[in-house]
Symmetry: D2
Subunit: 345 residues, 4 copies
């Protein structure tokens, strides 16, 4: 069965999908359904709406439910769905859990409390309350760059005390941290799954014991992410390593060359979907930067046959432009212009 191990663990690649928007900035239902089909057809093991990539915080509570409803309806049981269910507080989150349970969702994923940076005791208390009352399996979601961190002893306590907590998605990208979690939890909970949200470490994460990944790049190049997963599990390490290297380049470009998740949105657009403009406004400078980035992404995708080369072709070396170096060149130019009196700073 896709998305699950023989021992019942969640496994494989779950895609934290972006949400296409129409011209008025509303959810573009038709395009979201088309995108859902496309992802499933290209082999992802599951879908993961309302993740960070899906910009869950930028939608209203009503919209978040609508997104899950559309995807669940369209997937129609072909792949399991992990639905982000974090709301304003425990009570609202539990209401969302109940709603998603009614839709036949496989499990919810709940990010640790954010805005306030809470310590381990609070994170424990929060998830314990949810774990005791949820009508549906729960995946913890650790993303310390955005939300309160879930540390190893807290994962262990929750796994030991709450059997409806069945997995953790960890986006720290910290490999020893993953090892420590698996060591602490697996002896008591062989059914507990470990998923990595950090695409740049997918292969080594799988090799040290992870069950799968919730990887934003699988929403852009599902073929590659799936292949990397398969090669790694098959022990074809040389081929897997080459693919992992390529994925780092693509992932870094999408992640660091624009405000997250704009780079991913631009890349999904290049795969043929009308994603619309994101809800976070862009400054004029950012719009210029993004159009430069689109060209770089098009070249990267073209290398793998996922897009045509842009008009004018691609440079031999598609490594991301080194902004530091560019700045040096520019400083030198400006200095020269200034010394000749052509420029007044």
């Amino acid at each position: 069965m896709p998305g699950r191990n023989a021992d019942g663990r969640l496994r494989g690649i779950f895609t934290p999908n972006l949400v296409p928007l129409d011209e008025r900035g509303e959810i573009n239902e038709g395009e979201l359904r088309r995108y859902t089909d496309w992802l499933i057809e290209r082999g992802v093991h599951g879908l993961y709406p309302n993740g960070s990539t899906g910009e869950f915080t930028r939608f209203t509570a009503e919209e978040r439910r609508r997104i899950v409803e559309i995807i669940a309806d369209q997937a129609a049981g072909r792949v399991p769905i992990l639905a982000g269910a974090a709301e304003a507080n425990v009570r609202e989150t539990l209401r969302a859990c109940e709603h998603y349970a009614g839709l036949g969702i496989r499990a919810v994923a709940i990010v640790a409390p954010f805005y306030y940076k809470l310590g381990p005791e609070s994170v424990y208390a929060y998830f314990r309350e949810i774990g005791r009352n949820t009508p549906i399996d729960v995946t913890l979601y650790n993303i310390p760059m955005f939300a309160s961190p879930i540390d190893v002893p807290t994962v262990r306590r929750l796994a030991d005390e709450c059997e409806r907590i069945v997995a953790i998605k960890d986006s720290s990208g910290d490999l020893p941290h993953m090892i420590r979690m698996i060591q602490a939890v697996r002896p008591n909970r062989p059914d507990f799954a470990f998923l990595t949200g950090w695409d740049a470490a997918l292969m080594p994460m799988l090799l040290i014991g992870c069950d799968g990944g919730t990887n934003a790049s699988s929403g852009v190049v599902p073929e590659l992410t799936r292949k990397l997963y398969d090669l790694t599990l098959a022990g074809e390490l040389d081929a897997a390593r080459r693919l992992q290297y390529d994925l780092v380049t693509l992932f870094d470009t999408m992640l660091y060359q624009a405000e997250f998740p704009e780079g991913f949105r631009a890349a999904v657009q290049l795969r043929g979907f009308d994603m619309g403009r994101g809800r976070q406004p862009l400054s004029p400078k950012q719009q210029v930067d993004l159009s430069l980035l689109r060209r770089v992404l098009q070249c990267l995708l073209a290398e793998h046959g996922f897009a045509d080369e842009p008009v004018g072709g691609c440079p031999a070396d598609t490594l991301p432009v080194d902004r530091e170096e560019l700045a040096t060149i520019v400083a030198t130019v400006l200095d020269a212009l200034q010394r000749r009196g052509l420029l007044q700073l």
Copy 2:
């Protein structure tokens, strides 16, 4: 006129009030109205619902509106109101602005985007969009420990371009940062106000040019915060300094000895309000810690005549317990017990 300078700037102490909850965890309207009166009678210059102290992220969008409605109705124009208006995205935030404008609110306060950590260009684009479309004056809210930072050039750009952006509340507590902002903005915008959200630096912030503060401790000891403000403006620096020192002790105890804003909630309760339990669950350990903290707070408040001493009296030295030292003592005790075979770790 309270809450405003001769040149129209916001000024004085705005209280970021907590919201009392009833036994079912719902807004306790009666207590909120009583608390509003009490704060106004004790001299705060304005009220500031839906701030971080007010746990705006733990209420639903509907509840946030209800909180402002209650406070605006109860204040009935006696003091100006600054209403936190941040919602899921620019459009929702603007809708809240329109609603609050209809309630006769003086200005809204909008925190920089959170969860995602955005860079200066995005923060600028976000507030520019709001500043261009808001029907009500806007206060920027910079709280880098929780949300994307608003840096000095961004404040300057926004102040220069958007006249409806009229103030910044800064909770960084960074004094040179405040100086840099004032230097960058005041020449072009003499009507732009600078408010500090960091109670532990209120006196020096006022001395270097701030117009006032949005201070959580003013919800606990409005008498003291107001007096500190008055003494500082009157140039009575020795008396102000002594009060500032006391405020640091109280503020630190409320802030660092429990998960924010539980220490403040406990202290407001000690001032005679039924605050209810917060929406973030507490672990058993945290409940024990909180009951210890209540006793410490009661002693601190008793020193200023704001509470009776607890049964059993207060220690001579009410400095917050040094947890590090306590841990050392405990380690020594445990070690001794263990060596005598009384304890097996």
Copy 3:
């Protein structure tokens, strides 16, 4: 008596002086003596060789001693000297203390252990060992951006246990932290002095209870730093505030526009001293940047009559160039050039 309070506390402005180097990169003794005289004549209350500004880590152990010997000899008792004495380990540090005691130094300043980031217990153990064995008064030096932090309970323990530890120099710039330290230490140790190393907060630090400062900008504009100190103590707050604002501008420019302490070196050079090249090599880009910075600094110094305006004059607004904005302009230009085919990235 300069450099000391009636109650024996260190007080006033101690200059953490840079060390001029000759063409071979060796200590330029003649220039160091001339610089020492110049600083004393312009009113600094004391000298502070082997501080961070003095690049103590870039000299050998022998050179560090030589620097103190030259300055002590040249000062000849006119002002007290605080000598940086941190060496590779406690034993070496104590040897340096003994050597400096023999030179008639007023006190040593010892930075917390660096490279390894040590916790409070280790920092305590380190200073306790020194405090018990030093033949000379010791100033703790807290600079958390470079070395292990010295927290408030540690300062209190050391002040309580070691009477030869007589002061702390704190370069965190954190005002509430300074208040907490003073609260914790002064009741038991009225002779213990608090000096701030953060020039951008000098005025408010003095107003909340500091005894003085060890301020790198006093090595560049000793006249201003001294005047700011005097105005603040005299309660002329409006004049002091204006001067503090100017000092923030100058300090920020020297600190953030080049790798520390190159901006300070360039500024001292502009005051008429042959500082030589620093021991940390500069890249070609950095050399260009530094020459641009020199012009900005010359304009800032010219505003106060401390330098002539550079040939070509100064812009109306001498605020530090906003690199972010500059980058935007450049990006726009490049984009335009590229679209017209004039540039191939």
Copy 4:
């Protein structure tokens, strides 16, 4: 040939050895020679004196040379030596390089400048100056938790420009960072080696392309580290994974349960070497903690047959004590004692 690949790259496990001290705190030459032999006999591929584990900053410049001389003499060519050569400045560092070249050292390792946190341009300029003038191969040493970080573009620039820079030791433990470095450097410099200093990620680092490691735990359990290296290269991933998990437990215990490198010193002592007391003083509390830690380490080593179980035996579960949980228990006990009037806080 040990310590080198067919293509000339450094490879394998280099041990960053601790330095035994005698009762007076001086280098214990006899024990250092005995330890050197023991490490070589247990299969480490090379030795690495004056690393962070070797506490290079706590020795004088003369002592650092002495340490390398002793080890080079004792190794007598049996394994290659990588000698830490960072001194106060470029000139002193180059002098050390010359000295070590004369001793027949394979290469030096030079940490990025520390104390001051330098940016990429400065780090580049520093290493370029060294790379152009060194008479011996240079390994860059990136340890961002202690020293200025060496970023990927800087590694690439240095590898491209300086052929005597032949390797990087990276202790960040960041796997995608390692991939990025290899991608950026290897195409132009197939002879450039990548070594990881983060024991907790050794296996996955080797699997994604690293040539070896400089791992502190190889000074404690050289047999295990070597076996992990061999199993990983042989593709015996299940066995390697189990060993990596065990190594994480041991490494974490040595690293996080005491101030670095005291846990490693205690463990080497348990392997039969008289290490003496470290040069960083310990507080009474730390001495107690360390004796508790010794027992835990003895149990961990006993599991692998490297030590006898301590008197009294080992607990079934040798996971590091959870201090958080312990604190909870203690708080509960204290609370109970207090409520019965047996304890007055």
